[in-house]
Symmetry: C2
Subunit: 188 residues, 2 copies
């Protein structure tokens, strides 16, 4: 028997990604987002939703670009920190002792210490309400060699990304491999 | 040292959700999506991206509504099945032995056997490329009593949702609770 929970932003899983931007003075900034996801295969696109009040919002509008930085479990404290303070008040990269690298493809910085980063050119912005959804075309993905599989592709089990749990607002790791997609449902 | 991977749709984690729709004859249909995410807090909204060629695309356009059905690990075979076949060719609910329930809030069916479902009214559609991004306002969430915590909220550890791993195209479960968001980064 199902119970009504109300109109809330609960869904499982959601990601914990860090969006990298420059401000108008080219100071690197970063903020953590969970309202985000891949949204198109061709061109390859990813969406992130930000409140207008955030400093990163202005950075995306200014530069028409952003990066998506995927933390490992090892980066959990830094990833959480980027979601607590505002780049308006401090240099978050310096405070977190992380290294901003200027993308050669888009005017946005990525985080050297995170295992996988996506360099994105702003394609669309859609005002929804409190949040604005930004669609970025993925121009390139860069990944540490240590998280690549034998074919040179990023391996989720080596990345060990964070999952953000809506509801209890906790981070989770990746659990067991449960089976192959487009395969195990063939006998359902 | 980071290596260039190319412009691909790789990000970690992505969800494995099942979108429920009616076709023009009110036949219930459902398809699995990974290109999706929460996209606004107020009004509470979720986005799902579908190819125009899918039967569900026509169902959303027809009814301006859809449901998002969150499978448990126990529903993995059915969730995968919904991503393999087309509702144009068969009645997927019958084939998967699952029960479509008509939402009382929006003209779309939800899956009785899945632990958490979101009932959504179409607010926006954005043509990106191969995929169209649909933004749905979450009108209500319904959850099985068995997955609620002591405060009556859905508990990710009881739901045990699926994670879709881009790259190796495998499903994963939820791992360990790694800490509280907006908290553990305060000392970073």
């Amino acid at each position: 028997m199902k119970q009504s929970i109300g109109a809330k932003t609960l869904a499982f899983p959601t990601p914990a990604w860090v969006v990298g931007t420059y401000d108008m003075n080219e100071k690197p900034n970063a903020m953590t987002v969970a309202w985000a996801g891949i949204c198109c295969s061709n061109p390859p696109c990813i969406s992130v939703s930000l409140r207008k009040a955030t400093y990163s919002y202005a950075g995306i509008m200014e530069n028409k670009a952003f990066t998506v930085n995927i933390p490992s479990e090892d980066n959990i404290k830094e990833a959480d920190y980027f979601g607590i303070t505002s780049g308006r008040d401090e240099n978050k990269f310096e405070a977190a002792c992380l290294t901003p690298i200027r993308s050669e493809l888009v005017p946005a910085p990525y985080i050297a210490e995170f295992p996988v980063i996506l360099e994105c050119k702003l394609l669309h912005s859609l005002e929804i309400g409190l949040h604005t959804l930004f669609v970025g075309e993925i121009m390139d993905i860069k990944a540490e060699e240590s998280v690549l599989d034998e074919n040179g592709n990023p391996d989720i089990e080596k990345i060990r990304p964070l999952i953000y749990g809506t509801g209890n607002r906790s981070y989770y790791g990746i659990g067991c491999n449960l089976g192959k997609a487009f395969s195990i449902g063939k006998k359902a």
